[in-house]
């Protein structure tokens, strides 16, 4: 089936540094999402993105977070600067305009902030 890729699979970074998480969504999808999951717990919505703009963001989407998809390339989540509490697994998802609620998830990026 359709696949969402995420690069890198793991990232270890010092607190205060910048990190960029990359997502390669399903090719014809236009809705993109980032979720945060701590220690295999609940999947928490961060932000969604459509037509080059953020549609909604949660209170977890701090000012240090930003998303973009320049020129149809990777859909990225940037955290600058990182904090200890940003350590989590970040999942990207995408869905089509005709089937918005069938989201395809990537395998996740495991971020550890030291």
């Amino acid at each position: 089936g359709p696949k969402v890729l995420q690069i890198p699979s793991h990232q270890i970074i010092d607190m205060g540094q910048m990190v960029t998480l990359n997502c390669d969504p399903v090719s014809n999808h236009l809705y993109f999402y980032w979720y945060k999951q701590i220690l295999g717990q609940q999947m928490e919505f961060l932000v969604n993105f459509y037509n080059g703009k953020v549609m909604e963001k949660s209170k977890l989407f701090k000012d240090q977070f930003s998303v973009e998809r320049p020129d149809g390339s990777y859909f990225t989540l940037k955290i600058q600067p990182t904090a200890l509490e940003d350590s989590a697994v970040y999942f990207c998802a995408s869905s089509s305009t005709s089937n918005q609620d069938t989201q395809y998830f990537g395998p996740g990026t495991r971020l550890l902030v030291l």
Partner: protein
Amino acid sequence: TQTVSQSDAHVTVFEGDSVELRCNYSYGGSIYLSWYIQHHGRGLQFLLKYYSGNPVVQGVNGFEAEFSKSDSSFHLRKASVHWSDSAVYFCAVRPNSGTYQRFGTGTKLQVVP
């Protein structure tokens, strides 16, 4: 308060048994309901969804779910589980007026051989 809750954190059954994983919601208005499965260390995979029509929806791998407006529920069922069904199952709700799904806390299903 709008919530989606999965009351069972862990469920253990024997291979071949039936299982029901519970999901209850407290949203008004029209909603989309979905179930996802997450195997250890992997992303979520879509199982099935409901918006309207027949309250019993069929999904992949023999899973089905039944919507009940009176009970505010969307429980997931499987008649005969396999060891490979061991995973965490997430229920999700999207209000028709919203743009993203809210996930429950998940139910970890363990299938014992």
